[in-house]
Symmetry: C2
Subunit: 331 residues, 2 copies
C-alpha cells in the first residue's frame, strides 16, 4: 500500500471567499458559511482522486489544511478559529466522500501570543468527533512578521505535547505563510522547520515526552544536509559526539523533496525507519520536470530509482512507518 | 596547492575588549585602540599556522572577520565602522606576519537602514591599500531583530555589485549574529544564505551584473538539498524547467559542510567548477568526530574519500576555482 502522509485540502472557491470575507469584516459579520458541502465538493474530490492519487499510484492520502492559507497571524482570534475549522470541515467532507482514499490531519487554530491550549477544543473535535489521525503544527504563528515565536522546545508548547501523547496522535511540523516581504512562504517553510528541529533537540523535549511523535515536513528543512554543522554544535553544547544523530532519529521526516540526490541523502542520514512517503501533491512540486517528463511531485518513481536502498527500506517509507506512527489509521 | 577560502580572524582578547568598550560607550570615548599589533599577534599567528593550517595540510587560508562578532545591527553607525576596521586591521596584520599563508577578505561596515555606499571607503582601504582579495557580505545587517532586510536581489545592493565588478573582487555571503532569542546565529547563517540565493535568482541580478562573483558560504545553506522545491518554484515563476539550475550555477559555493554525504550532494547539484575548498577552521566544526577521530572541519580527507569525483574535480575544489574567482590572489 502507498500511503502519502502529506497532502492538502480539496476545497471549492467558496472556502477562500469565506476567508476573504473574514479578513475584510474581521468577524463583524459573524461566523458565516464556507460552503464545503458534499454537493460542492463531489466533483473536486473525484478529480483529485483521478489526477493526484490514481495517476501516480497513491492508495491513500492524508489531508491537512493548505498551510500557506491558514492566516495564523491575523486578529481577532475568532476569525483564525473559524477559518481553520472550515478547512478541517472540508477535509472531513473529502474523507466522507472517499473513505478508503483519505484520512484527516487537523489544522490547529493557532494564534500568535495566546496559549496553545486555545487549540484544544478543535483538536478534540477533529480527533474524537471527525476521526482525524494526526495534527499539523505551525512553529511560527506570527508568520514571519518579525516577532520571535517561542522555539518548539519551549514550555509554551508543553500542554500540546502532553495532549498529543494522551491522544496518541502525531503532528506534522509545517509552517504557514510568511509576511517578510523579501522572503517567500515556501522558503520560510525550510527555515522554520530547521529551527524547530534544533530547538527541540537542544531543549531535550523528547526526554520529557518520550512518546511524542513529530514529523518534520519537506525532508527536515536544511538539517539532513547541514547535519555536520549540527553535530559540531551538539558536541560543543553537550560534549556528546553521537548525540545529535541520536536526537535526530527521534523525529520522523516526510519525503517532500523533489529530486533523487536529496532523497538519497535523507535516507542515509536518518534511516528509512524514520521516513514516510509524502508528496504535497498537488502543490509546489506540481510542475513538469523536463528531464523525466514526470511531475516533480511524482516522487514514488524517484524513490524506486534509488538503487542503494532495500525492499524493506521502500516498504518502510511507503507504508510501514506511517502505520506505526499514525496509530489511529486503520485501513 | 590547497587554498582554504573560508577562515576567520586571528585576534588577541584586546580586539573583543575593544568591542565591549564600544558597545558600552556607544562611541562616547572616541575611536580607541583595538591592539591588533604585530607584537600582540605574533604568537597567535604562529599557533594558528601550526594547528589550523599545517596540521591539516592547508597551504593558504583567506581570512575574513569572525561574522557572528560583527554587530552590524548596533548603533550608532560609527561603532560598527570602527569595529569592522579593527577586524580588517587584525587580518592585515596576520597577512603581514605570514604573507605566504594568508590573504585578506574584508568585512564590510554594514549598518542596518543606511545606504550600502557607506561601506565603500572601507572597501577601498582594504582592497587598494591593504591588498585584500575579496569581500564578505552580510545579507541581514538587522541580524534577525525582526526588521526585514532588503533581499539580495533588491536595488539596495546594486551600488555594491557595481563596485565589486569595477574592482573585480568576489564576495563571500555569510550572515552575522542573530538576535532572535529562539534561534542561533549558526542556524540563521543557513536561513539567510538560502534566502540570498532565492532573492538573487528571482530578481535576475546576474543579468544586470554578469561579472558579479558571489560565493555562498556553508555549501549554499539549504538550497542544494532543497533544489527540487526551488526548481518547481522557478518553473511556476518563469515557466522555465532548466532555469533554476542555470541560475544556481552562476553562484559559487564553499565546502563548509562537515560530512561526506552532504559534500557529495553539493558536487552533484552544482558541479565542482562552482565549488571552493573552505573549512571555517577554527570555528563551528572544530570538534572531534568520534567516528573518524578527526576534527569535523578537517574537510580535505572527507573530500578525498569521495570516490565519484575525478582528480580534476578535486583540483577545481582545492585550487583552480579559487584562483579563477579571486583574481587579485597571486601566489
Amino acid at each position: 500500500m502507498i500511503i502519502d502522509i502529506h497532502g492538502h485540502t480539496n476545497a471549492p472557491p467558496s472556502l477562500y471567499a469565506y476567508k476573504s470575507g473574514l479578513l475584510s469584516s474581521r468577524g463583524a459579520h459573524g461566523k458565516g458559511n464556507p460552503g464545503v458541502t458534499e454537493e460542492a465538493m463531489a466533483n473536486l474530490v473525484k478529480n483529485h482522486l483521478a489526477n493526484n492519487l490514481d495517476k501516480v499510484g497513491t492508495d491513500i492520502q492524508f489531508l491537512s489544511p493548505r498551510p500557506f492559507q491558514l492566516m495564523h497571524s491575523e486578529k481577532p482570534e475568532r476569525i483564525v478559529h473559524w477559518f481553520v475549522e472550515a478547512n478541517n470541515d472540508a477535509i472531513a467532507t473529502s474523507v466522507k466522500l472517499a473513505p478508503d482514499r483519505y484520512r484527516g490531519v487537523a489544522g490547529l487554530p493557532q494564534c500568535a501570543g495566546v496559549p496553545i491550549t486555545n487549540t484544544f477544543e478543535e483538536i478534540d473535535r477533529c480527533v474524537n468527533d471527525l476521526g482525524f489521525v494526526g495534527l499539523m503544527i505551525n512553529p511560527d504563528p506570527y508568520e514571519g512578521d518579525g516577532t520571535p515565536a517561542p522555539g518548539m522546545g519551549d514550555e509554551y508548547w508543553y500542554p500540546l505535547y502532553e495532549k498529543m501523547c494522551q491522544l496518541d496522535v502525531p503532528a506534522l511540523i509545517h509552517s504557514a505563510s510568511c509576511k517578510d516581504p523579501w522572503d517567500t512562504y515556501s522558503n520560510y517553510f525550510i527555515a522554520v522547520e530547521t529551527r524547530c528541529i534544533i530547538s527541540m533537540v537542544t531543549s531535550g523535549v523528547f526526554d520529557k515526552f518520550p512518546n511524542l511523535k513529530i514529523i518534520v515536513a519537506h525532508g527536515g528543512g536544511a538539517v539532513p544536509y547541514q547535519v555536520g554543522r549540527y553535530r559540531a554544535f551538539f558536541v560543543r553544547q553537550f560534549g556528546d559526539t553521537d548525540g545529535f544523530d541520536i536526537q535526530l532519529k527521534k523525529f520522523y521526516f516526510d519525503t517532500v523533496l523533489y529530486n533523487q540526490e536529496a532523497l538519497e541523502l535523507l535516507f542515509k542520514i536518518v534511516g528509512s525507519d524514520r521516513c514516510m512517503f509524502g508528496t504535497e501533491n498537488p502543490g509546489t512540486g506540481t510542475h513538469k520536470d523536463a528531464k523525466t517528463g514526470r511531475m516533480l511531485d511524482d516522487i514514488k518513481p524517484t524513490i524506486d530509482a534509488i538503487a542503494e536502498i532495500s525492499e524493506q527500506d521502500r516498504k518502510n517509507v511507503f507504508e510501514d512507518v506511517a502505520r506505526k506512527v499514525f496509530t489511529r489509521f486503520k485501513g
